[in-house]
């Protein structure tokens, strides 16, 4: 472990910075009505390239979200095959607008974003890849506020190179 940043870290940091600037620009263009999709879509897209949780939260416009007992995150404790890990997020929070699934140790931490309109339950099941033992975070936006729930998954065979 070296104390400083490696060259690739710096390149990545530059890249992320460029992506963030790009997403801001996209946001402005969206407000001007020049690109299809909402400003949110631009921010979500940049978040999908984030390399750590704080960058992903940053790109999603979240400060540290509160833990909520009203979110139930179901993942296996041990995943033999990291390439296919079932994840269910279910919440009884009112007015759910968005559900995101993140994995702290993956190269791209944000696995998926779901926009939940009115008339749809706060419930998502999907399957994701987890590269190594990691914490899965369910991020829920309800009534304009973000909440989270986390669980560790032990991975015996990684999913990113599988």
């Amino acid at each position: 472990m070296s104390a400083g940043y490696g060259e690739s870290d710096l390149i990545n940091m530059e890249r992320r910075k460029a992506l963030r600037t790009g997403s801001r620009l996209l946001g402005v263009l969206a407000i001007l009505g020049l690109v299809p999709g909402s400003a949110w879509a631009g921010a979500g897209r940049a978040a999908l390239d984030a390399g750590n949780l704080s960058d992903a939260f940053d790109a999603l416009g979240v400060t540290l979200p509160e833990n909520s007992e009203l979110i139930r995150l179901t993942v296996p404790e041990v995943a033999e095959n990291g390439a296919v890990v079932p994840v269910t997020v279910e919440t009884t929070l009112a007015h759910v607008e968005q559900i995101s699934i993140l994995v702290d140790k993956n190269i791209n931490v944000l696995a998926a974003n779901f926009i939940i309109p009115k008339g749809v339950a706060g419930f998502i099941t999907t399957r994701i890849k987890i590269g190594q033992t990691a914490t899965v975070v369910a991020l829920v936006k309800a009534d304009g506020k973000f909440y989270r729930a986390s669980r560790e998954v032990q991975v015996t065979q990684g999913g990113c190179s599988a």
Partner: protein
């Protein structure tokens, strides 16, 4: 053009559970081939689900969604015979739309 998405939508107790299995490689862009060359990312990036033409789910996928993406969600209401449409776009701009009726 990819293969058809398998869709099953079932109405029960005032909710309609929609299950779908999309057919896609979901190549992360992090793997290398036998010669050591990086295999480029090839993923579904956007999914939209419609119920009788109204958007009921929008998803953005990153590289960590598993091969042949599987999704389940529940909409409030929905009746037998009503139409569910699933649309996706990938990063090569391939697109696919499939439909099923609620049973």
């Amino acid at each position: 053009m990819g293969e058809a998405t398998r869709i099953r939508a079932t109405a029960k107790d005032g909710l309609t559970e929609v299950k779908m299995l999309m057919q896609h490689e979901m190549e992360t862009g992090q793997r290398k081939d036998a010669a050591g060359n990086k295999i480029p990312a090839w993923i579904i990036t956007d999914v939209k689900v419609l119920h009788e033409g109204r958007t009921v789910l929008e998803a953005q996928f990153g590289t960590a969604v598993s091969k042949n993406p599987y999704l389940v969600f529940r909409l409030i209401g929905g009746a037998k015979g009503e139409k569910i449409s699933v649309l996706w776009t990938d990063n090569r701009d391939d697109k696919r739309m499939d439909e099923a009726v609620i049973d």
